[in-house]
Subunit: 123 residues, 4 copies
């Protein structure tokens, strides 16, 4: 395993944090990062919106040979801000070393959950 | 961030706009576009069908450092036509500068919603 | 638009045709093909299984500038055989000219439908 | 068909084996492998976690011109260990010859199932 596995920049155009939840679980999204290399990876997330300026400063470490499933509903940036609810947004995930990124959403707005997932788009 | 991020042409073979909705939300599809560059992107969408000629002339602007979640049930082309309901179709998304495109569908034909998503296919 | 868009061979490892349906729709899978070029494309589908030899001879035409959403539950090969139900399988989609392929499944085994989709894997 | 189809290493960052099931089916994940080549493929799976060391030693054979839908809830490694339930994890799938890999999850924690799928990320 060398350090060239994966990519350092990944995009996810379809982000949405539902305002409502029901059932056993809260509605949530996760950016799932896998770092198969021998050194820790510093992850930085930027959010893009339809009607306002981008938000930056969301930082997470994914340790060597570990995964991090970053819950977007629990993430705070350096200014203490969280992801806005009920608003369309998009994400850029940057890492200082190559990682692999997948995005998933569980929606429990209604009684029964719905799931969706996709690999993020690497550059 | 330079202008070479992403791609200028993306394809989505599986489009379908359900004729029925129930629950809290209407059934809908979205083409989610992310433009991380410093200049606005002009987006043009073409629809392909199984039994009729393609439809063009659907235009959207995705501003610089913004996302647009294009609701297919609300989109009209230059002739005032919308996406036909209950018919299989496919999409080509063209942009005058590189963007990233993801496709999602929420189906509420039955009482509980179902979700699916995938990155579009870049050329 | 030239003839080099897309790919001539696509793979889908996760095929499954549920034996049961309920609700408003039958459980079904679809191979969605988009042919944006100016000539018709001849599509050939091969099925792979866990415990038996592969099945070939499933043929479909996707006309120029058209899409075909191939319902796997309705497809028959040259020998009149259909896709076996309740059995894990995989698909190879071959075309005589470049196309784009996406795979989707609607499962209505239980009362409320579930959806999943992904781009097929191009070679 | 030559031996260069597909890839020998695939990553899946978002693994999760739900602790609860209901309805007609158990909650489960599957790594779906397709080996279209003329020789058998030896598959090796490694699991990565958020809070513990990786687990290796999960081995499966995907015969020539066959598919294997590897149920993660039934998989045991050489030490007799299975996939931990209720814990975020990620997967690396290695093969001694090129294969194609897709990941799917059926969640039946609540009464109605939810599905999600994506191609794994090839290296």
């Amino acid at each position: 395993m060398n350090g060239t596995t994966g990519s350092k920049v990944w995009y996810i155009p379809d982000g949405y944090y539902p305002s409502f939840s029901s059932g056993k679980f809260p509605s949530h999204e996760a950016i799932c990062v896998l770092n198969p290399a021998a050194e820790d990876a510093s992850i930085s997330i930027t959010l893009y919106f339809e009607d306002r300026d981008k938000m930056a400063g969301f930082s997470v470490v994914c340790p060597a040979e570990r995964t991090r499933h970053i819950r977007m509903d629990q993430l705070k940036n350096a200014a203490g801000e969280g992801v806005p609810q009920g608003v369309a947004y998009a994400m850029m995930v940057e890492s200082d070393r190559p990682v692999i990124v997948q995005y998933s959403r569980m929606d429990t707005t209604q009684a029964e959950m719905a799931l969706m997932t996709t690999m993020a788009y690497p550059v």
